[in-house]
C-alpha cells in the first residue's frame, strides 16, 4: 500500500533521516547520496503535486483532533520551493560538510527539517500545523549546536527566543480555536474584534518570529558565526522565511481578513518598517561576510511584513513575491559566503580581498544576487520591491520613505561587502585560493539563474505562482506583472541606487578601502554612540527579556526563602519559646500547682453554672 502522496512528502525525508543515522560512519558516500536522493525524490513529488489540489484526512490521530492536510495553490507552491532549496543545499552540503564532525547528525536534522516544514505547509488544522512548526525548534537547536565550540550558547538563545514566541502562537491558536469553534484552517474566517485582535497578534508573533523579524531576530547574526553554513542558507534564509511569511499571509488573508484601516495592519507595517531600517543599519557596520548577510536576512523580512501589512493587493503580492525572491538570493548569498569560507578559510572581511580573480564564478553569482537584493533592474528583487513600495506609498509616505531608505543602505552595504571581499588587493593569505568545488557551484549558479529569470520574465512567477494565491476576486482585476507602472517610483529607486554608489565612492576616497567605505556613517556623531551601544548588545531584546526574567526570579526566590524561613526558623522558635515559657511555670512548688488547680476548678464551675 502506498501512503497518500501528501504523507509521502513528510515520510520520505523523515525515514531517510532516520536511515542516515543507521549508516556507518565510514560510508560517507552513502550518507551523502541518501541526503541528495531523498531531497530529489521530494522535488519530483512536489513537481508532480504542483497544480493539483485536494485534501486528505488521516483518521483518528486523536479524537476530535484529526490530522488533516490540504494541498492547494499556495501550499503546493511552498512545497515546491522547499524541495528546490532542499535539493540545491543538499548538493552543496555534501561537499561543504566533508571532513566536519557530526555530519550524519546534520544530514538527519536537515531532512527532518524538510519533513516538518512540508508538514506545516500542508497542515489544514492549526494544532497539526503547530505540532510541525514547533517541532522544528528541536532541530533548530540541534543544527546550530553542532557548529563550533560555543555554538550551543547561540543554539540556546535561538531555542529560547523561538520557543517563547511559539508558546505565544500556541496561545493564539487556542484562542482562535475558541473563537472560531474549529481548528480546521480552511473553515476559519474571523471578523476582527478585541479578542480576535489579540489572537491575531499572538499568531503574528509566532509568524514574524519564524520570519526572523525584529524584535525576535537577535539569534540569527550569532548563528551566522557559530552554526554550520548550509544551515544558515537552508533555515533562516529560506525555509523559515517561507514558513513565517506563509503563515503571516494565511492569518492576514484567510483566518482573519486584515482590512486597510485596521490597527493591526498599521502594527504590521510598523514592525516591518522598523525591521527594515534597524537591521540594515546594523548590517552596514559588520565586518564579517556571514554576519553582514544575516542582518540583511532580518531586514528583508521587514519588506515582506510591510508588504503584507499594507493590506492592499499590490502590497500583498509584492510581499509574497519578495518572500520567494528573498529566499532565492539570500540562500545563494549565504552559499557564496560558504564557498569563500571553504576556499579562503575565513569570512572575516579584513582578511579577505581580491577574490574575484581567483573565484570568478562565485563572484558572478555574488554580483547577480547582490544586485537582486539591492533591487537593481532587471533582477527579481527590483520587481518585488517596487510592488512593496507602491503598496507602502498607498498607506502613507513614511512607510515608503523607510522602505526606500532601507534600499539605500542595503545597496551601500553590498557595495562595501563586494568591494572588501572580491575586489581590491589579494591579501597574502589568500594567494593560493582556488574556485570552489563544482558541486558547490551548481546550486549557486542555479539560484542566480532563477533570480535573473524571475526578474526578466517576472510575468511567469507572478502569474503562475504568486497572484493565484490572492485569487482573481481579491486582485480586483489587476495584474501586477511586467514593468512597474508607476514611473515616478522607478525613477526614485534608480536615483537612490546611484546615490548609494556615490556614497560608496565618497567613502572610498576618504578611507581608501572598500571595507571602510561606510565608516563616515559608522562614526557620524551621535550615530556612533548608538552603534557602540548596539555592538555591546544593549539593544538586544533577548538580553532585556532575560534581565526581566532575572528580576522576577530574584523576587520569587526571595518569596520562597521567606516562606521557608517561616517553616525552618519561625515555627521551631515559636514552639521552643512556648514550651520553654510553659516549662518555667513548672517550678516544682506544690503551693503554685495547688493555686493553678483551684483557679482551674473555679473556671470550670464558672462555665458550668453560667
Amino acid at each position: 500500500m502506498i501512503p497518500n502522496p501528501l504523507l509521502l512528502t513528510i515520510i520520505i525525508p523523515l525515514l531517510s533521516g532516520i536511515l542516515i543515522f543507521c549508516v556507518p560512519k565510514k560510508l560517507e558516500g552513502a550518507r551523502s547520496g541518501l541526503l541528495v536522493l531523498a531531497n530529489l525524490a521530494g522535488l519530483i513529488l512536489a513537481i508532480i503535486l504542483f497544480k493539483q489540489s485536494f485534501t486528505y484526512t488521516l483518521p483518528g490521530i486523536a479524537p476530535g483532533l484529526e490530522l488533516s492536510f490540504r494541498l492547494y495553490q499556495f501550499s503546493a507552491f511552498m512545497l515546491l520551493a522547499t524541495s528546490l532549496f532542499g535539493v540545491l543545499i543538499a548538493l552543496y552540503s555534501v561537499v561543504f560538510m566533508q571532513g566536519k564532525k557530526l555530519v550524519s547528525q546534520f544530514y538527519a536534522y536537515f531532512l527532518f527539517s524538510i519533513a516538518l516544514t512540508n508538514g506545516a505547509f500542508l497542515a489544514d488544522n492549526l494544532l497539526v500545523l503547530l505540532f510541525f512548526w514547533e517541532g522544528l525548534l528541536v532541530l533548530l537547536f540541534g543544527m546550530i549546536a553542532i557548529g563550533n565550540k560555543d555554538a550551543f550558547k547561540t543554539a540556546t538563545k535561538a531555542f529560547i527566543i523561538v520557543g517563547v514566541t511559539d508558546l505565544c502562537m500556541m496561545l493564539g491558536i487556542a484562542l482562535t480555536g475558541h473563537l472560531a469553534g474549529t481548528l480546521v484552517i480552511s473553515k476559519i474566517s474571523l471578523t476582527l474584534s478585541p479578542l480576535a485582535n489579540l489572537a491575531f497578534i499572538l499568531l503574528m508573533i509566532g509568524a514574524i518570529s519564524k520570519a526572523g523579524a525584529m524584535p525576535f531576530h537577535s539569534w540569527i547574526p550569532d548563528a551566522a558565526i557559530d552554526s554550520p553554513l548550509p544551515f544558515m542558507s537552508l533555515i533562516p534564509a529560506a525555509l523559515e522565511k517561507l514558513l513565517g511569511i506563509y503563515f503571516l499571509a494565511r492569518i492576514s488573508l484567510d483566518l482573519f481578513r486584515l482590512t486597510v484601516n485596521s490597527g493591526l495592519s498599521t502594527l504590521l507595517m510598523i514592525v516591518g518598517g522598523a525591521t527594515i531600517i534597524l537591521a540594515v543599519m546594523m548590517a552596514l557596520i559588520q565586518k564579517d561576510y556571514k554576519r553582514l548577510l544575516s542582518y540583511h536576512a532580518i531586514s528583508q523580512a521587514g519588506y515582506m511584513i510591510l508588504g503584507i501589512g499594507t493590506a492592499v493587493p499590490i502590497g500583498i503580492i509584492g510581499g509574497l513575491f519578495h518572500m520567494i525572491n528573498h529566499a532565492l538570493y539570500k540562500s545563494c548569498l549565504f552559499l557564496t559566503s560558504g564557498a569563500v569560507e571553504k576556499q579562503a578559510g575565513t569570512t572575516n572581511l579584513e582578511k579577505l580581498g581580491g577574490l574575484a580573480r581567483k573565484m570568478p564564478i562565485t563572484f558572478i553569482c555574488f554580483v547577480v544576487t547582490a544586485c537582486a537584493i539591492s533591487g537593481v533592474w532587471p533582477f527579481n528583487g527590483f520587481f518585488s520591491k517596487e510592488l512593496v513600495y507602491d503598496g507602502a506609498l498607498e498607506r502613507g509616505w513614511i512607510f515608503y520613505f523607510v522602505a526606500v531608505a532601507g534600499s539605500f543602505f542595503t545597496a551601500a552595504s553590498f557595495l562595501k561587502l563586494g568591494h572588501a571581499a572580491f575586489i581590491g588587493k589579494i591579501s597574502s593569505e589568500n594567494g593560493k585560493v582556488k574556485e570552489a568545488h563544482i558541486s558547490m557551484l551548481i546550486p549557486m549558479i542555479a539560484i542566480a539563474l532563477i533570480c535573473t529569470f524571475f526578474g526578466v520574465f517576472n510575468q511567469w512567477p507572478l502569474n503562475n505562482l504568486i497572484q493565484p494565491i490572492l485569487g482573481a476576486e481579491r486582485l480586483e482585476g489587476h495584474n501586477f506583472s511586467g514593468f512597474p507602472t508607476n514611473t515616478m517610483l522607478v525613477i526614485i529607486t534608480f536615483v537612490v541606487l546611484i546615490l548609494a554608489i556615490l556614497n560608496h565612492l565618497y567613502g572610498l576616497k576618504k578611507k581608501g578601502s572598500g571595507l571602510h567605505a561606510l565608516d563616515h556613517i559608522r562614526y557620524f556623531p551621535v550615530v556612533s554612540n548608538i552603534y557602540d551601544l548596539a555592538e555591546k548588545g544593549f539593544f538586544d531584546p533577548y538580553n532585556w527579556g532575560l534581565g526581566l526574567v532575572n528580576v522576577i526570579s530574584r523576587i520569587s526566590f526571595g518569596v520562597d526563602k521567606g516562606i521557608n524561613w517561616v517553616y525552618d526558623s519561625l515555627s521551631p522558635k515559636l514552639a521552643y519559646g512556648f514550651s520553654s515559657g510553659i516549662r518555667k511555670l513548672h517550678t516544682g512548688n506544690y503551693s503554685v500547682y495547688l493555686a493553678w488547680a483551684i483557679v482551674g476548678m473555679l473556671v470550670i464551675f464558672g462555665l458550668l453554672l453560667r
Binding site: 479524537p63 505540532f131 550551543f152 508558546l167 496561545l171 491558536i173 487556542a174 526570579s553 516562606i563
Partner: protein, 480 residues
C-alpha cells in the same frame, strides 16, 4: 473474571507483598529486588486489565459497611484507573532504576519495603471512596515517604525528612477536620452519599478551605511548598517517586476526586485555586532559575508544573480537565526521567552543584539525550507528550475566558524553557569540569525508557487522549 478481585489485588499485592520483602531480603537481595518489581508490575498489569471495562463507562464499587461511617468503600472508575496506570507504570520504571542506584547503600530491605508499601497505599488512596479510608492511605504514604526521604541517615537529612512529614501531616490533619465537618453535615464519609447530600445544598467555603490546605500541602503548592525542594536529600529514585510521579500527584488527584467528581464548590474557588497555583508556579519557576543544586531545581520545576495541573483542574471545563489529566501522565514520565538522570549524574560526579559540572554529553551521551528529551517534554515542545497537555490546559482556560490568569501561566511556561535549558547547558555542554562515566546499563536503560515513553506519548497521543477523554466525561457526569 471477577473485577472486584482485580481492584483488591492492585491495592493489596503491593501492600502485603511489601511486608514480606524484608524477609525475602534475608534470603537473597536479588530475590527481594525482583519481588518488589513484580509486586508493582502486577499492580500495573491489573490496572491495564481494568481499562477495557471502565472505558465502556462501567464502574466497580466495593462496599463493606463498618461502624461509625468508617465503611470500607472502594470505587474504580476511569479517573482512578487512569491514575493507577500512570503511577504504577512510573513506579515500576523507578524500581528498576533502583536496582542499580541503591545497590551501594545500607538499609535496602527497608527501602524496597517502603517503596512497595508506598505504591500500595497510593493505589488504595486512588480507589478509596470513603474519606476516612482515603485519609488512612494518605497518612501511610506520608509515613513511608518520611522514612524514604531520610534514607541516608545523616542528621541534616533526617531533619529534612521530619520537615516534609510535619508539613504534610499538618495539612492532612486540617483536612481531617474538613472531612469530619462534612460528616457532621451529611452523616456519611462515603463519597457517593456525600455527593447526593450536596446536591441539595452548597458546601460551606470553610470546609473547602480546610480540605484545600491538606491538598496543597501534599502537592507542595504555595505556601506549603518548601518541604519539596528540601526533600531532595533523598536518594534519586525516591525523589523521582515522591516528587515527580506519585506523591505530589496525590493532592491533585484528591482535588479532582472530591471537588470535581463529587462536590461542586462555590464558583469563587474557580478563581482562587488558579490564582494560588499560578503564584506558586511563578515563584517556583523563579527559584528554579536561581538555585544551583540540580535536584532542588527539578523539585522547584515540579512545584511549578503542579501549578499547571491545578490550573487545568480548577478551570473545570472538559478541555482543561482533559489537559490536566494528560499533564499528570506527561509530567510524571518526563519528570521521573529528569530526576533519575539527576541520580546518575549525582552518583557518577559526586556533586549536585550544576555550576561545577559541564560537558558531560561527551561521556554520558545517553543520559544527556534522555535528559534533553524529558526536559523538552516538560517544556511542552512537540513531538513530545507535554505539548498536548500544555496546549489543552491553555485551550480550556481560554474557553472560559480566563485571559489574565492564562498570562501568568504563559510567563511561567517561558521560564520553564529558560531554567531547563540553563540546567542542560551547565551540566552537559561547554567545558568538562568533572570527568564521569555513563551510569550502569539498568539505570541508563530506565531513563532512556522514560524518554522514549515521553516521545511515544506524544506521537501516539491517540491512546492516552482517548482514555483521558472518557475519564473527563465520566468525571463531569456526561458519560452514561
Amino acid at each position: 473474571m471477577n473485577y472486584n478481585n482485580l481492584v483488591l489485588g492492585i491495592i493489596f499485592i503491593p501492600v502485603i507483598g511489601a511486608l514480606c520483602l524484608p524477609l525475602a531480603g534475608r534470603v537473597s537481595s536479588r530475590l527481594r529486588n525482583i519481588l518488589s518489581f513484580l509486586f508493582i508490575l502486577s499492580s500495573f498489569i491489573l490496572s491495564l486489565k481494568l481499562i477495557p471495562l471502565v472505558l465502556t463507562g462501567k464502574t466497580i464499587l466495593i462496599s463493606q459497611p463498618f461502624a461509625l461511617g468508617l465503611n470500607f468503600t472502594l470505587l474504580a472508575d476511569n479517573l482512578a484507573v487512569f491514575m493507577t496506570c500512570v503511577s504504577s507504570l512510573i513506579s515500576a520504571v523507578i524500581v528498576l532504576f533502583s536496582f542499580g542506584y541503591v545497590s551501594h547503600y545500607d538499609n535496602q530491605n527497608e527501602y524496597y519495603c517502603m517503596v512497595t508499601l508506598f505504591l500500595g497505599a497510593m493505589m488504595g488512596l486512588v480507589f478509596s471512596a470513603n474519606l476516612i479510608l482515603m485519609y488512612v492511605f494518605w497518612e501511610i504514604t506520608a509515613i513511608t515517604s518520611w522514612r524514604l526521604i531520610g534514607f541516608f541517615r545523616d542528621k541534616a537529612y533526617v531533619l529534612k525528612a521530619d520537615k516534609a512529614f510535619l508539613v504534610t501531616v499538618f495539612g492532612s490533619l486540617i483536612m481531617l477536620i474538613g472531612f469530619i465537618s462534612i460528616f457532621q453535615q451529611t452523616g456519611s464519609f462515603d463519597l457517593p452519599l456525600i455527593k447526593e447530600a450536596y446536591k441539595a445544598q452548597l458546601i460551606p467555603n470553610l470546609i473547602v478551605g480546610l480540605i484545600l490546605v491538606g491538598i496543597l500541602s501534599k502537592s507542595a503548592t504555595l505556601p506549603f511548598q518548601t518541604w519539596l525542594p528540601d526533600a531532595g536529600v533523598a536518594p534519586s529514585p525516591v525523589t523521582a517517586l515522591l516528587h515527580a510521579a506519585v506523591l505530589v500527584k496525590i493532592g491533585v488527584y484528591v482535588f479532582a476526586r472530591i471537588f470535581i467528581v463529587n462536590i461542586t464548590p462555590d464558583i469563587l474557588w474557580h478563581t482562587i485555586v488558579p490564582l494560588i497555583a499560578g503564584i506558586s508556579a511563578i515563584v517556583a519557576a523563579g527559584a528554579a532559575l536561581i538555585e544551583t543544586d540540580l535536584k532542588r531545581i527539578i523539585a522547584y520545576s515540579t512545584i511549578s508544573q503542579i501549578g499547571f495541573i491545578f490550573f487545568g483542574l480548577s478551570i473545570g471545563n472538559s478541555i482543561a480537565i482533559l489537559g490536566a489529566l494528560l499533564y499528570i501522565l506527561m509530567h510524571g514520565l518526563a519528570k521521573a526521567g529528569l530526576f533519575l538522570c539527576a541520580g546518575i549524574i549525582e552518583q557518577n560526579t559526586k556533586t549536585k552543584d550544576i555550576t561545577k559540572l559541564g560537558g558531560l554529553i561527551s561521556t554520558m551521551p545517553f543520559t544527556g539525550v534522555a535528559f534533553l528529551a524529558c526536559a523538552l517534554s516538560v517544556m511542552g515542545i512537540p513531538p513530545f507528550g507535554g505539548f498536548f497537555s500544555k496546549y489543552l490546559v491553555f485551550s480550556g482556560a481560554l474557553a472560559e475566558g480566563r485571559l489574565w490568569i492564562v498570562l501568568i501561566y504563559l510567563i511561567c511556561a517561558f521560564m520553564t524553557i529558560i531554567y531547563l535549558f540553563r540546567v542542560f547547558n551547565l551540566i552537559f555542554l561547554g567545558k568538562i569540569n568533572i570527568e564521569a562515566k555513563e551510569g550502569s546499563s539498568i539505570m541508563v536503560g530506565s531513563v532512556v525508557g522514560l524518554a522514549v515513553l515521553s516521545l511515544a506519548a506524544g506521537i501516539l497521543i491517540y491512546y492516552p487522549y482517548k482514555f483521558a477523554q472518557v475519564a473527563t466525561w465520566q468525571m463531569l457526569g456526561a458519560l452514561k
